[in-house]
């Protein structure tokens, strides 16, 4: 069985990004990657196992150490058929060739080849030697132009050089590859060897399934977060004797408020962790100026995310109208629609006014004690901000490729992140969906569930759009 599954040796010279490609393809950020050359010192097999059955194996190899020598040896032995095997056999014992044997061994055993080259650099002699010697191995092979920079001037040269010797040549930025690009690369594997089609297809299918499942999971996490955050309360009971002075009262108020805010932050952090685990990230760099690094309740975040004031007012109106309509119903229509009007008016006004305070403070007096309670959040803007932020986080988790751990974020002319648009995700939704969200939030505040399925669909659509790059992931936000 294992003889028949596609085995793909990822080859290239040291530091070409082989491990990054494997890490990204297999979503495994535990693969050792370092920007220093020679991190991979032996061939590691990273199988894709579906239901306990390996379907594809990616083999991460060390870099070529003696390409010229190998090529010359190959050329000298040009009569032989299994060059790679012969080479390994001949050089097993030579310590200078440990890496080369290590990397040619999978090829000797029949693995296909994926050559990873750095498309941002000029073609060097070594590259040509490697291309040629891989050609001589006569295995099915594919080349990946791993261009981490903006520099595309050599790409055509690379293409020309690679096309002569490789069945297929693809661009793939191992540090930026999204889910969609990954799947496309996998699709391309089919073209290397037709016999693999069913297995590769199965792997792709599994990847897609897995991805959808994770997306759904993320949506559930997000909805749970919203529901929890909107019903969250913090309270503190204090003896009246401590409240004699105004300062004491103020302090208690502050404490409760802080506890409330921290509680919200914790909820968010917990959800973020779940999402992160969901998308299998262990290593993670956050640009220092990211909105995600800012405090959830800071003005900056509030500015950048959520709905605009106008939208909020409109949405508030709609949600208010809904509650007005229920009043209408309960009063058996005696108000003849006046209820709807009144509801709409108050809703709209709250939309404006309510953007100041996050939540109300309630003080209950009992004998000798007072109970300070903050929450739940009644600021109509807050849930949108929270939603935007968690979606932003998810976007990052989804599109942060696993091979990126060693990325030099300050490397010269790396592919720039897309242009920053200081706008959240919810802002761009159609008004009807915004209204659905607003209703969901309103109901969630009361601990009820309304329009949950609609909101689930909305969020799922956003996440899906992010994954296939239809929606800008606002990676810099």
């Amino acid at each position: 069985m294992s003889g028949k599954i596609p085995r793909l040796a990822i080859m290239g010279h040291p530091n070409a990004g082989k491990s990054s490609v494997v890490a990204t393809l297999t979503e495994n950020d535990l693969i050792q990657i370092d920007k220093r050359a020679g991190t991979t010192t032996e061939s590691n097999v990273y199988p894709v196992i579906i239901d306990g059955r390996p379907v594809i194996e990616f083999i991460d190899t060390p870099g070529f150490q003696n390409p010229n020598a190998i090529l010359e040896w190959f050329q000298a032995q040009s009569g032989k058929r299994e060059l790679a095997r012969a080479f390994v056999a001949a050089h097993r014992a030579d310590p200078l060739f440990t890496h080369d044997c290590e990397l040619l061994e999978p090829v000797a055993e029949g693995a296909a080849i994926i050559l990873v080259v750095d498309g941002s650099k000029r073609i060097k002699e070594k590259d040509r030697v490697e291309i040629e010697l891989l050609r001589l191995t006569a295995r099915p092979r594919m080349a990946i132009l791993n261009n981490l920079t903006n520099n595309t001037r050599y790409m055509t040269q690379w293409r020309d050089a690679l096309c002569k010797a490789f069945n297929s040549v693809r661009d793939f930025n191992a540090h930026r590859a999204t889910y969609g690009e990954r799947v496309r690369l996998l699709q391309a594997l089919k073209s290397i060897d037709q016999r693999w089609e069913p297995l590769v297809e199965e792997a792709i299918h599994a990847f897609e399934h897995d991805w959808n499942r994770r997306t759904d999971q993320a949506v559930t996490t997000i909805l749970d977060l919203l529901k929890e955050a909107l019903t969250y309360k913090a309270s503190k009971t204090v003896k009246e004797s401590k409240l004699v002075f105004e300062s004491g009262r103020e302090r208690v108020k502050e404490e409760v408020m802080r506890a409330f805010e921290d509680g919200l932050r914790q909820l968010e952090t917990k959800a973020q962790e779940q999402i992160r685990a969901n998308f299998r990230h262990h290593v993670w760099h956050m640009p220092p100026d990211s909105i995600l690094g800012k405090d959830l309740l800071s003005e900056e975040v509030n500015q950048a995310l959520g709905l605009s004031k106008r939208q909020l007012a409109l949405v508030g109106m709609a949600a208010g109208a809904a509650s007005g309509a229920t009043i209408d119903l309960s009063t058996a229509g005696h108000t003849f629609g006046a209820g709807a009007l009144i509801g709409a008016a108050t809703g709209g006004v709250l939309g404006f006014m309510g953007s100041k305070a996050l939540a109300k403070l309630n003080i209950e007096r009992a004998s000798g004690t007072q109970r300070f309670t903050v929450g739940p959040v009644h600021n109509p803007r807050f849930p949108f901000v929270l939603l935007d932020r968690i979606v932003l986080y998810s976007a990052r988790a989804m599109n942060w490729s696993h091979g990126r751990q060693a990325a030099e974020e300050d490397a010269p002319d790396k592919v720039p992140e897309k242009e920053i648009r200081r706008a959240g995700f919810t802002e761009e939704l159609p008004a009807a969906q915004q209204r659905d969200l607003a209703r969901f939030f309103n109901a969630a505040r009361k601990g009820k569930s309304e329009r949950e399925e609609e909101c689930r669909a909305i969020i799922r659509d956003i996440l899906h759009g992010l994954a296939v790059s239809e929606i800008d992931s606002r990676a810099d936000l």
């Binding site: 010279h13 579906i50 290590e102």
Partner: protein, 813 residues
């Protein structure tokens, strides 16, 4: 039966039902219970997701998929069935003691218990009501009107209102939420209470530690009447219908009993002046459903009987019964009443009962199972389990070795596989088509290595810039231009492969060399000749200590090396080689033939300039391009100066025999092909200037390295053959520092060391990745440290690592 114990047979029922494909309400409750348990676990330990996905997927693959046949997934049937089987599997995984405590089981028992209770109560109530209504003390006949009103009309209205409510809910499209009717508020808490009581009882029976009560109860309560629309209240309607049936049965049985075993007199009366005809019509109307079977007089009383059973209070008040009612008339109502209760009380209840049972079955059979929790589970079952964790590497799991660092060798050894490396050179050269292609590609293009194209054609102009600076800068500058020319020939001699027709002068010479290199056999010698040439040189002229030493040692080495490898493949060569090799050093005599050739070459190439060699260089790794500075000749310079002129006609022997002469402050520049390829002519002076700055050396000769062993041989040949004025040779190697060092690079350094001697000063200067405006840019500090680590590991005290250009001060990278 004792409901407090989970009946043994009910376990069997479960075991049997585990093969079931259909859902029951109890199944739903258990299902929700398990879903809830899973969800809670996920919430508490998000990491449990993986295990859960594995469990569900393997459940699906191992047990469900084989049973399900080839139903396409994502169809309602498939979903329903697989979820049902999943539930069965989950239940089967429970310990047997647990089965009874599962909320579903508790609910089922509770439902049975409540139903039974309701039957009993209903039956007793029926008996009670009927016997109360039918109490006949022999004086006053039983009132038909009361009986009819309470047991028929009221009951019928209840049923009708229930039916209309139901129909209305259906029509309005809701009814998923709360259970309808007050009745549900009675029955539901009853069932709930009963179920939790039962569960408590059972938990008590089933050892406390088996199940923590709280969990079970919570599961029960939370999942009792969840979603699932009508299914949630049907279980309540059904017991209610059963109650009604039991009640009616009680009533009917009581009525029949009393009629059979006692003598009952029925009558009717009214304060109103009602004509018996009216009563009769009403009776007939009521009896319509059965009048076709049991007609007047049997199924319902006749007009006469109705009239006869009218009760006038004054008859009874005045004890003198002037009109004695006919007993037959008074009895005539009996069957009518029974039939009425049966038709309007019992039958509708039976219909409702049957209807709700059917409805429940239908609803259960059509449950879509699409709410999100189910969806997640279903997705877990269908999604192939995807793992991409490494298999743990090789057995033992030890890390592989770091990049191998070649050991120091005091002597020069040919590359391992290349024992016959020189011999191989011919095929090698031909096997690097891109070297040719490069040139070709470059020529049209503007951006690439221009060294090759222009120079040969326009020799003179180009040379001066290259050569001049070094010449001037240092001391000697006897005759720059003239000297160059003569030197050039020497370089030209070196290439075994030939610059092609481009250079007319070379062409002739080219003719013979290619021939010689056509076959390996012939090629090998040709290359070797160079070596031989070189060797003699060091000995006679410069004869510094290192130089001779190197060649001397080199001989023994090559022999052993080739043997092991070649022994297998080319025994013949092995033999021939040794003989040849030893010859080279010892016998300068052997080479004479070659020197001649060389002589010829210089002559040919005189016309061409430095660039000539470059051409071949590009094409074949074999050719060393020796751009010679005119400087080399400190003393000899004068003598040679004339030669160049003469070279054309007849090159003096001494020249070929000797290598390049290196002044005390001159060095051999080895340029990696990658850099050489992109260098423009105007860069070369700059390069030399930079070297001057770094080391204080002038460049006496230049060769390229990095494209194969043959090229290396040539380069080292120049070194070994060189006429070093101040003994320890000075070599500068320029490499591309933007690529990490690999074994190959280090191995070349070792070879270089071996060729140059242990004390030779070797400087490795690194260049960054070239850009358009700067083809010799500084390298990034990071790359530098990378190289530094490796070079340090080589532990070569006479090897110096430098950046060719100083790093940017602003340190932007």
């Amino acid at each position: 039966m004792d409901f407090r114990h989970h009946p043994a047979d009910s376990t069997e029922v479960h075991a049997a039902s585990d093969e079931a494909r259909d859902w029951t309400v109890a199944d739903l409750i258990d299902f929700e219970y398990y879903l809830d348990a899973d969800e809670r676990e996920l919430r508490e330990h998000p990491s449990a997701r993986k295990g859960m996905a594995e469990r569900d997927r393997s459940l699906y693959l191992d047990t469900i998929a084989p049973e399900i046949g080839d139903q396409p997934p994502h169809t309602p049937a498939h979903r329903r069935f697989s979820l049902r089987r999943w539930l069965a599997a989950r239940r089967n995984a429970e310990r047997p003691e647990m089965l009874g405590v599962l909320p579903g089981a508790a609910f089922a028992s509770a439902e049975r218990l409540v139903t039974l209770l309701l039957v009993v109560i209903g039956f007793i109530a029926g008996i009670g009501v009927a016997s109360a209504l039918l109490s006949y003390d022999g004086t006053r006949p039983v009132s038909v009107s009361w009986y009819l009103f309470l047991l028929v009309i009221v009951q019928f209205l209840l049923v009708a209102s229930l039916a209309t409510a139901w129909a209305l809910r259906k029509a309005r499209g809701r009814g998923d939420g709360a259970a309808p009717g007050l009745l549900m508020h009675v029955v539901r808490p009853l069932v709930t209470k009963a179920a939790s009581w039962l569960q408590r009882q059972r938990i008590g029976h089933a050892a406390a530690e088996i199940q923590d009560q709280a969990r079970a109860r919570q599961g029960l309560f939370k999942s009792q009447y969840v979603v699932y629309g009508p299914v949630s209240y049907l279980p309540l309607i059904i017991p209610a219908q059963i109650f009604g049936v039991a009640f009616n049965v009680g009533v009917i049985l009581t009525t029949l009993m009393l009629e059979w075993f006692t003598d009952l007199a029925f009558g009717w009366g009214s304060t109103l002046n009602v004509h018996p005809q009216t009563i009769f019509d009403m009776t007939r109307l009521i009896a319509l459903p059965w009048s076709w079977l049991l007609g007047e007089g049997i199924g319902y009383p006749s007009l006469e009987q109705v009239a006869g059973s009218r009760i006038f209070l004054e008859h009874w008040a005045s004890i003198t019964p002037t009109v004695k009612p006919d007993p037959a008339h008074l009895r005539s109502w009996g069957s009518f009443l029974v039939l009425a209760v049966t038709t309007y009380g019992l039958l509708p209840r039976l219909l409702l009962w049957g209807g709700s049972v059917v409805a429940r079955r239908l609803i259960l059979a059509r449950l879509p199972f699409t709410h999100s929790r189910t969806q997640a589970l279903y997705a877990r079952m269908l999604s192939p389990r995807l793992e991409t964790t490494p298999s743990g590497g090789r057995p033992g799991g030890e890390r592989g070795t770091e990049m191998p660092i070649p050991a120091a060798s005091t002597s020069r050894k040919p590359r391992p596989e290349g024992a016959d490396g020189p011999a191989e050179s011919a095929p090698t050269t031909s096997a690097r088509p891109w070297r040719n292609a490069l040139v070709r590609r470059v020529e049209p293009g503007d951006e690439a290595p221009p060294p090759a194209p222009p120079p040969p054609l326009a020799p003179a102009p180009v040379i001066p810039p290259v050569v001049a600076p070094p010449v001037d800068a240092p001391k000697t500058a006897p005759a720059p231009e003239p000297v160059q020319r003569p030197m050039l020939p020497r370089e030209a001699e070196a290439p075994s492969t030939v610059p092609e027709q481009e250079i007319p002068g070379v062409a002739e010479r080219a003719v013979d060399t290619p021939e010689s290199s056509k076959t390996d056999r012939t090629a090998a010698p040709s290359v070797r000749q160079f070596e031989s040439k070189r060797e003699p040189e060091p000995e006679p002229p410069a004869v510094p200590e290192p130089a001779p030493a190197a060649p001397a040692i080199s001989e023994p080495e090559p022999e052993p090396e080739p043997k092991p490898e070649e022994a297998a493949q080319r025994p013949s060569e092995t033999q021939s080689r040794p003989t040849e090799r030893p010859a080279t050093p010892a016998a300068p005599a052997m080479p004479p033939g070659e020197p001649k050739k060389a002589k010829a070459k210089p002559a040919a190439s005189t016309g061409s300039d430095l660039k000539v060699p470059e051409k071949p260089l590009v094409q074949a790794p074999a050719q060393p391009r020796i751009t010679e500075t005119p400087t080399p000749p400190p003393e000899p310079a004068p003598t040679r100066a004339p030669k160049p002129a003469a070279a054309t006609p007849t090159p003096p022997k001494s020249i070929p025999a000797q290598g390049t002469r290196f002044a005390p402050d001159a060095c051999l520049l080895l340029l990696h092909v990658d850099i050489d390829d992109i260098l423009e002519d105007e860069d070369r002076p700059r390069l030399e200037e930079m070297l001057m700055h770094l080391s204080g050396w002038r460049v006496a000769a230049t060769a390229t390295v990095g494209a194969g062993s043959a090229m290396t041989e040539e380069a080292l040949g120049i070194l070994e053959r060189g006429d070093w004025q101040a003994p320890p040779p000075r070599v500068v190697l320029i490499e591309d520092g933007s690529q990490p060092p690999i074994t190959e690079s280090l191995r070349f350094l070792r070879e270089l060391r071996a060729a140059a001697g242990t004390r030779a000063q070797i400087m490795l200067a690194l260049v960054g990745d070239p850009t358009d405006d700067d083809r010799l840019p500084p390298m990034r500090p990071f790359d530098y440290t990378d190289w530094q680590r490796k070079i340090d590991q080589m532990a070569d005290p006479y090897l110096r690592l430098e950046m060719l250009a100083p790093p940017h001060e602003d340190g932007d990278d």
